[in-house]
Structure formats: structure tokens, C-alpha cells
């Protein structure tokens, strides 16, 4: 017996869509969706669960992650209830729900709090740099160390526990019995989806969107590797230097297109942007762009006298690493692929 909770809808409003109450359950959205199938019927079911406030049902569901937002449901909805944006809002809500610290929800719901967090981190970086007398060498060295440290700690203390929570909500709590071997057997699915996002191709809208996203993911992962492991800013190796240039260019060009798309609202997927969406694409753009300029400054021997350039990059990097990666939209990279993995496991069981 589930209890109806009309206040839940008001909570979801804070994550984006506030039109879904208009739904009259015609099911057009599910009918036109090219990703829905006999195992996972969406988005109407999720719209219904949101209207009724069946939050446990939504928490246990993978459906929001299985939607790749082509927007067909939103354009064909006779009530303009915008089911596509609701699925997006539920992804935001789930991201907050999985996060054990509660910071994700706070950051997503309150723009003020987000701005506060961004400003505090920026002040922190400047304060730290001042304490080092703005010594370029030391700061850049520490910046490199910070990259490694933050990856390790964010992964250990935030992302891993949150993935465990997701697993608990969708597999353990609903009482699905999974053999250990099944987890191993289906593990390849996780990797395939993580690195190909091939499910996007199931969406009717475009192959280009998938391709650009794929290049961006690889560009981002490669730049991460190049800067952290190959020490792009410190290296003299011409190949590595060129590789980093290419990667950063790929990132800022593609994110530039993405930002422009969101400004123009040229596609259904770009029509509704929450602060978390803006932060994600803009910071990724800044990350690529500032990294590119910093390396240019290094190659032109300008960095010694223009420490501000590196500081700018460092501020963006720190904000990215401590706000956006653990609590923001970055996590969809993992949640989406884990959702495919868990879904496969559920189907096998």
C-alpha cells in the first residue's frame, strides 16, 4: 500500500519540470519513445509516480537513467506536461538522492548556495596562492598534486559510497536476489556503456549528438590522463604537448557548441537548462580553454610573469573537482552506465 504524497511534486519542481501535473495519462509519451521496451516502460509511469509522490518507486527505478532525452515525448504531449524534462529532473533528483552528503541536493536546488560554494573555493585558491607568495613553480606543482589527491579522495569518499547507495536503492532494497557471478558476467556491459554511450543511438533525433558527446568524453578522459599522469604542464615531450593541445581544443570547441545550443534552445534537449546544466558545460569549456591557454603561456614563456592565468585555471579546476564532479552533473557519466549494468542484471535475474 503506497501513500499518495502531493508535496513530492513540489520538491521535483525545484529540479526543473513544473508542468508534469498536467498529465492526463494518455500514454502518448511512452508510445512515441524509441527507447522504451517491454522491460522498461517509460516515461508515463515515472510521470504518474511523480504526480502521486511515490518517491520510493522512483528511487528504486532505473527508468530516468535509461532515457537519453530526445524530447519526442515532450513535443507530442497533448497536455504540454513535458515528460522529457521530467525525466531529466528526476535524474537531477536521483543524483541528489544517491548523494550521502546531501550537498548535491542543496547545490542543485539553491543557485545562491551554488554561487556561494563557487566563490568560497575561488577565495580559497587565491588565499592559498597568496600564502605561497604567488610562486608559480610551487603553485603549479601543488596544482598537479591536488589533481591526483582530489581524484583519489572524491572517488573514495563521495562517488564510491554514492554508487553503493544507488546499488542499494535499486537492487538490495527492492529485494532482488543477484548471484555474485552475475555481477561479474555482466560487468562488460558496464564498460561498454561507460565508454560508448551507445544507447543514445536508440534515440530518434541524431547520430551527431552521440558522436560529439563521445568525442567529448574521450577528449576529457584523455586530457585528464595527459595532465595527471603525463604531467602535460611539466613535460618537455613534444608528442605529449601536442596531444594535450588537441585534447583541450576538442573539449572547448565541443562544449562551446553545447553552450551555444543551450543559449539558442535549438533542440528539445536544450530548451530547459537548470543551473547544474550550465555549470557543467561552462566549467568544462573553461577547463579545456584555460588549460590550452596555460600551456600556450608555458610554451611562450609567459607564465612566470602571468601567474594569474594559471590561477584562473586552478580556480576552475578546483571548483570542477570539488563541486561539479562529486555533486553536480558529472556523475551522470557513472550513473548512466551503472544503470545499464544494473538493468541488465535485473533482466537476467
Amino acid at each position: 500500500m503506497a501513500k499518495i504524497n502531493p508535496d513530492f511534486a513540489k520538491e521535483i519542481f525545484k529540479y526543473g519540470n513544473d508542468d508534469f501535473n498536467a498529465c492526463y495519462n494518455c500514454g502518448n509519451c511512452t508510445a512515441v519513445c524509441s527507447l522504451t521496451d517491454e522491460h522498461n516502460s517509460f516515461p508515463r509511469k515515472m510521470v504518474r509516480a511523480s504526480v502521486l509522490g511515490l518517491d520510493e518507486k522512483i528511487t528504486a527505478s532505473l527508468d530516468p537513467w535509461l532515457c537519453y532525452y530526445c524530447g519526442d515525448c515532450a513535443t507530442t504531449c497533448p497536455r504540454e506536461a513535458n515528460p522529457g524534462e521530467l525525466m531529466m529532473s528526476l535524474r537531477r533528483w536521483l543524483t541528489a538522492k544517491y548523494d550521502w552528503t546531501g550537498l548535491s541536493g542543496l547545490l542543485q536546488k539553491s543557485l545562491l548556495f551554488s554561487l556561494f560554494a563557487f566563490i568560497i573555493t575561488a577565495i580559497g585558491v587565491i588565499y592559498y596562492s597568496a600564502s605561497q607568495n604567488f610562486n608559480v613553480e610551487i603553485i603549479m606543482h601543488h596544482g598537479h598534486l591536488f589533481e591526483m589527491l582530489s581524484i583519489a579522495s572524491v572517488f573514495t569518499f563521495i562517488i564510491l559510497p554514492n554508487l553503493f547507495r544507488m546499488w542499494y536503492f535499486v537492487i538490495i532494497k527492492p529485494g532482488i536476489k543477484v548471484k555474485f557471478m552475475t555481477y561479474l558476467k555482466e560487468f562488460q556491459d558496464l564498460l561498454i556503456h561507460m565508454f560508448t554511450q551507445k544507447r543514445t543511438l536508440g534515440c530518434d533525433d541524431s547520430q551527431t549528438r552521440w558522436f560529439m558527446h563521445l568525442i567529448l568524453v574521450f577528449g576529457y578522459l584523455a586530457l585528464l590522463f595527459t595532465t595527471v599522469v603525463l604531467d602535460w604542464f611539466g613535460t618537455e615531450n613534444l608528442f605529449i604537448i601536442l596531444l594535450g593541445y588537441i585534447e583541450s581544443v576538442v573539449i572547448f570547441i565541443i562544449t562551446f557548441i553545447f553552450v551555444a545550443g543551450r543559449i539558442q534552445k535549438n533542440k528539445e534537449v536544450n530548451k530547459f537548462s537548470q543551473p547544474s546544466d550550465w555549470f557543467f558545460v561552462i566549467w568544462l569549456f573553461l577547463l579545456g580553454f584555460t588549460a590550452f591557454i596555460v600551456r600556450v603561456f608555458i610554451d611562450l614563456d609567459l607564465i612566470e610573469n602571468n601567474i594569474w592565468m594559471y590561477l584562473f585555471h586552478l580556480i576552475v579546476l578546483v571548483q570542477w573537482a570539488v563541486i561539479i564532479v562529486p555533486f553536480g552533473k558529472w556523475t551522470h557519466f557513472l550513473y548512466r552506465s551503472f544503470a545499464m549494468y544494473f538493468d541488465k542484471i535485473k533482466q537476467v535475474v
Binding site: 502531493p6 501535473n21 509516480a49 502521486l52 511515490l54 497536455r79
Partner: protein, 644 residues
């Protein structure tokens, strides 16, 4: 005897010809004496075929026609008109039904269907041979109409009739006008209140010289028939002097001192009122009335107000009208004890009570001193009953419930509305409201008729449970502060009128029209028209539409001073009649009277009352009654042809 008969056998597309061999029917018909021409047609009712038949009648000088097609209920008038246009008397036409009684009924056996069709056609031909030229009867009529019920539909009809020049007697059973409409506050789509609408109509009616309004009045007797009904009205005393100066202040004081309190049915019994009362300030007629059933004549009010006269007696008035329009309206369905907790759980009320509650409530929305935040609306209570008598949909309730839920949310923003429905039917423009309500966050849950929602009291909580078919039949529940039963419409109790006027009542107990599509405001009693929610559940717009239709119909009937009636009626052969009285008992229309004819007591049939139903014929031991258009010789020759 007709001997130049035209026979037309219709295929009805393939509805008839798929099972009945129409060519064979035609061939058999041709062989019969007196048949001049026989043809088959694709659609006898098609314009071109009608023209062809007309031409045949004229060119071949046919003296009778038989059309073998569908039921005469559908096209009798169509083909009578064909005959008329061609200069043939319309009663020299017989329709034979070989579709409903032939092809459709016997689609499993085409040869026998054909045989039956042949016999039916033979019977029709024999009958038409003996048909006579009949001429409609004309009777005088009074250009006056009695409109019964001064609700919105009756008031609107009265105005319309008066504007067209007909004298109107507007008869209202209650002491005040406005009916149900005055009980509703804000109305969709105009946002006027019911009381405003009633006020406007009342002023127009009051100032119209052709309208006489009778309040507290019922029809207790009727004589005569269409053209001249003589009605006896009984007027209840209002106990206020007719020359009252409208000293409202004194009358208000009189209401204050009245010691008697009764349930206020204007507020659907959620409040009490005095024996001397007025339902709301701007109610019309302006002066209060005394409820003679509740009043014990203690005289307290008389001490304060000179205008009160407790010695008034009921009055009887006779009026003569050409037609009667009934707009007697509806009652809300009264749920049974325990139906969704009604009358058992204290916070279960009906939509009508809820609407009054909202209007009467000032600040916070409270019921039984408990603040209301969550409201469950349970739809289709008393309508669309699977096992109960009310199989019909009451039409207005979905819209009214949603409209009310929007109003209540506008007034109290913290309210949560839960609609437990069986499919929302906000047809037409009313759909806008449904959209508005769901956008505002109202939650709609749906179940099938066999698994209605359950209302339970658990401790202090009232819980409504449902297996929601929109959520994969999952069992959902919500705790609510108020359960509103969306009760549909049932007819008002009007035995008096039914008995006095002999208005036909349908299986659903609403007044019955002749034909729902073609003659929707007329009854089988000539000159008695029905309009508004006494006929079927209707909303205000629909009620007014039907009342205007009935008003036009009434006006067109009586305004020319003459009424044309069907010639099909019973006649008595005086030589054979011995006045045994059996026929008067059999007549459902009270159309037969005893008269003296050449010093002999015989029966006579009133031309204006007889409907030609034929009920009197078989009971006459002397075989003294004949039915024009269905005379013994016509029927007997038809039967003979059928059985040979």
C-alpha cells in the same frame, strides 16, 4: 379499393439485399392484383429515389404506394411526404419493414428471410388496398402556455414565450424562484453567480406584462387537451399580507424571534433555518415566506410584524392554456446510508453540500470544526450504477466537481484535491477546467466500476483507498479531512404532475420525449412539452437550450390559434355501442366520454385527446370501435394475406 398500387422494394445498400432476394420479392409483388408497378431500389430514402417515386405516382397515376424497407419509425414521415408532394394522400401509403423484421432478424437463413419479406409485402399491399384518404383534424387553441417550474430553464422559457407574444403562466412550487441555479455560487464559464443570473431573469419576468408568476403553487387538476387545457392551481399561503410594504427590517426581526428551527434544504441540510425564512438576502420574490408545514402558528412573529397574517388559506385558481411546458428540474442523488461512508463517517458530504459549505464559509475552510486541507472527491455516486437503477451518466458532475475543486483551491491555496473518478467526462469546452485542475496539481485517480474506492475511518483518520488503474492497478491510499461524494441527478418527486398530466416517464424515471433526436422536447401527450433537467441530466447551458427549443415549439403550436392533429384515431359506431364502459378503462389518455346520442348512451372519443393507440379496440365486446387508418378491414385483409 385501390387498384393502381406502386410497390418499391429497398435494398438498403446491402443491409436488406444481402439476405433477402429483393428481385424475388419484387416479382411476387408484381403478380398481385391491383399492383400496377413494382421496382427494387438501392436506397428508397435517397433523394433521387424519392423523386422517382414521385414521378411514378404522377405519371402512372398511382392511387396507393407500398415501400418495403426499414422500420416506419425511421421513414414513415419521409415517404408520407413523398406521397403528399406527388399529390397522393399520405395515408394511402403503407411501409413494410423487411429490414428489422426481415434481413437483420434472419440473417442466418436468407431463403426464409425472403419468404417472410414476400409475405410482409403481400400483407402491406392488401392493407393499402383498403386505405382511405385521411385529412388532418384542426382544433382551435389558446395562445397561452403554462410553464411549470421557475428554475433557470422555466424562467428563460417564460421570457422567450412572452417575447414571442404568448401569454405565460409561470408556476413554481416553492415560495421563491430560481430553483437549483440559485443554490450554486460561481458558474463556469461566465463566472457569474447563480444568484446573479436568477436576479436578472426575475427582474425581466417581473416587468413583462405577458407573464404571471405563481409561487408556492402546484397544478392539482387538468381538463381538456392541446389547444385548451383547463388547469386548476393550488396556491399555498405565504402568510405575508399581499399589500405588504416590504418592511424588510420588521420581517427580519420576525425571522429572529421565530422559535422553530428546521433543516435548511436550500443548504442541503448542513444548516438550520426558521419556519419563517428567506434562503438568501437577494432572493425573489423579496418578501420572506412561512413554511406552513413547519410553522406551529405560535404567533411570535405577528407580535413584531403587522404584515404577517397567519390566517391565510390556500387558494385555488383556474387557468386556460393551449400548451404546457414542464421544467420541473432535478434532485441531487441522495446516497444510501453507508455508501462511501455517507451518514456514517462524519466528514463525508455530497458535492451539493460542499458547494454550499464553501459559499457559507468565511475565513478558514472548516467542517465539523475541523480545518480542511486534503479533500477526496468520489465520482459517479448515484450515476453509472452497475447494480443500481441509475445506469445513466449525470453529465454535469465531472465538470461541477472539477470546477468546485478549482474554486476551493483558489479560495484556500493550501488545499490538496484528490479526484477518485471512473474516467473524466468534461466534454466540450469544459475540458479546459480539467486541464486547469491538473495543472494546479489536483491528483486524479481512476478505478473501474467493479472496484470502487473505499472510504474507511481508522482511528481519527479518514482514509480513501483505490486500486488505481492509471498506476498499474496499484493500491494507493490517502488520508483526507473531507470526502465529497459527487452525486448525480435524479428526477424530482413529481407524482402529482405525472398523475395529473399523464406525462410519460422513462425507465430512468425522467420524463420521456417522443424521439431523442427528432422530437426531443415533445411528449406523446400533445401540447405537453418537456425541457431542462426533468428530462435527463443536463447542465445549465443545455437546460436553457432545451427550454428555448420547447418554448419555440410551444409557441408555434399555440400562436396561430389553430392546431393540426393526426387523423389516426378511434371512432365509435353508435349503432353498435351499448356503453359498457370497458373502453374508458382501457384508454390511457382519458379520451373517451359517455354521451347521449338519440336518447341512447354511447361512448365518444375526444379528437384532441385520442392518440390512435388502439387500446380500446380489443376490449369492446360489441366491436363498436374502429381505428381510422387501421380499420378492421385493413387489418384483417393484411393478416389474411400474411397467413395464406
Amino acid at each position: 379499393m385501390k387498384n393502381k398500387i406502386g410497390v418499391y422494394v429497398c435494398m438498403c445498400g446491402s443491409n436488406i439485399s444481402d439476405y433477402v432476394d429483393v428481385e424475388k420479392v419484387k416479382a411476387e409483388a408484381e403478380k398481385i392484383d391491383g399492383v400496377h408497378v413494382a421496382k427494387t431500389t438501392m436506397f428508397a430514402c435517397a433523394g433521387s429515389t424519392q423523386q422517382e417515386i414521385e414521378d411514378d405516382i404522377k405519371e402512372l397515376k398511382l392511387d396507393a404506394i407500398v415501400i418495403a424497407s426499414c422500420s416506419p419509425k425511421l421513414h414513415l414521415d419521409t415517404f408520407r411526404n413523398v406521397a403528399q408532394r406527388a399529390g397522393l394522400n399520405p395515408y394511402n401509403y403503407v411501409q413494410v419493414n423487411i429490414r428489422e423484421q426481415g434481413s437483420w432478424a434472419h440473417s442466418d437463413n436468407p431463403p426464409l428471410a425472403t419468404e417472410k419479406a414476400i409475405n410482409l409485402v403481400k400483407g402491406g399491399i392488401e392493407r393499402v388496398k383498403h386505405s382511405k384518404e385521411l385529412i388532418p383534424i384542426k382544433i382551435p387553441s389558446i395562445n397561452a402556455v403554462a410553464v411549470v417550474g421557475a428554475g433557470i430553464s422555466g424562467m428563460r422559457a417564460a421570457l422567450e414565450l412572452a417575447e414571442m407574444g404568448t401569454t405565460v403562466h409561470l408556476i413554481e412550487r416553492e415560495h421563491f424562484v430560481g430553483g437549483r441555479t440559485s443554490q450554486w455560487n460561481v458558474l463556469f464559464t461566465t463566472n457569474e453567480t447563480g444568484q446573479e443570473v436568477v436576479t436578472r431573469l426575475y427582474h425581466q419576468i417581473n416587468s413583462h406584462p405577458k407573464i404571471t408568476l405563481y409561487t408556492g403553487t402546484e397544478i392539482i387538476g387538468k381538463k381538456g387537451s392541446v389547444g385548451e387545457f383547463n388547469l386548476t392551481l393550488k396556491i399555498k399561503p405565504r402568510f405575508i399580507k399581499p399589500d405588504c410594504k416590504h418592511d424588510i427590517k420588521n420581517l427580519e426581526k420576525a425571522i429572529e424571534v421565530c422559535p422553530i428551527e428546521v433543516d435548511d434544504d436550500f443548504n442541503f441540510n448542513i444548516t438550520k433555518r426558521k419556519a419563517i425564512y428567506k434562503n438568501y438576502d437577494s432572493e425573489f420574490p423579496e418578501i420572506p415566506a412561512i413554511d406552513c408545514e413547519a410553522c406551529n402558528k405560535c404567533g411570535e412573529c405577528v407580535k413584531i410584524c403587522d404584515d404577517i397574517d397567519l390566517n391565510q388559506k390556500p387558494e385555488e385558481v383556474n387557468i386556460s392554456v393551449g400548451a404546457i411546458q414542464l421544467s420541473t428540474g432535478f434532485n441531487p442523488y441522495e446516497p444510501a446510508k453507508g455508501e462511501f461512508g455517507y451518514d456514517e463517517i462524519d466528514n463525508v458530504i455530497t458535492l451539493q453540500q460542499f458547494k454550499r459549505l464553501i459559499e457559507l464559509n468565511g475565513g478558514e475552510l472548516k467542517y465539523n470544526n475541523k480545518e480542511i486541507k486534503n479533500i477526496a472527491y468520489i465520482y459517479c455516486v448515484g450515476s453509472r450504477q452497475v447494480d443500481g437503477p441509475n445506469k445513466y451518466c449525470s453529465r454535469y458532475c465531472c465538470t461541477s466537481a472539477i470546477h468546485t475543486s478549482i474554486l476551493v483551491k483558489e479560495k484556500y491555496s493550501e488545499i490538496n484535491n484528490f479526484h477518485f473518478n471512473r474516467g473524466i467526462r468534461t466534454y466540450g469546452k469544459q475540458e479546459k477546467l480539467y486541464h486547469e485542475a491538473s495543472e494546479a496539481g489536483d491528483i486524479f485517480l481512476q478505478s473501474f466500476e467493479e472496484a470502487p474506492p473505499q472510504v474507511e475511518r481508522i482511528g481519527n483518520e479518514t482514509i480513501v483507498k483505490i486500486n488505481d488503474i492509471l498506476t498499474n492497478n496499484e493500491e494507493l491510499e490517502v488520508s483526507v479531512d473531507l470526502v465529497v461524494l459527487i452525486t448525480g441527478m435524479v428526477p424530482r418527486e413529481y407524482e402529482g404532475i405525472v398523475n395529473t398530466l399523464k406525462v410519460p416517464v422513462g425507465r430512468d424515471k425522467f420524463f420521456n420525449e417522443i424521439h431523442p433526436k427528432l422530437r426531443p422536447v415533445e411528449t406523446v401527450i400533445d401540447g405537453v412539452l418537456i425541457s431542462g433537467a426533468c428530462q435527463a441530466p443536463l447542465n445549465i447551458t443545455e437546460s436553457v437550450k432545451s427550454s428555448l427549443a420547447a418554448a419555440s415549439k410551444a409557441n408555434s403550436l399555440v400562436s396561430s390559434g389553430e392546431i393540426e392533429l393526426e387523423p389516426t384515431m378511434a371512432i365509435v359506431h353508435n349503432d353498435r355501442c351499448t356503453w359498457c364502459d370497458k373502453c374508458t378503462e382501457a384508454c390511457p389518455y382519458n379520451a373517451i366520454f359517455k354521451i347521449k346520442h338519440d336518447s341512447k348512451e354511447v361512448a365518444e372519443v375526444s379528437k384532441s385527446l385520442c392518440k390512435g393507440c388502439g387500446m380500446c379496440l380489443p376490449v369492446c365486446p360489441e366491436n363498436a370501435i374502429d381505428l381510422i387508418g387501421y380499420t378492421d378491414i385493413e387489418m384483417e385483409s393484411m393478416i389474411e394475406a400474411l397467413i395464406n
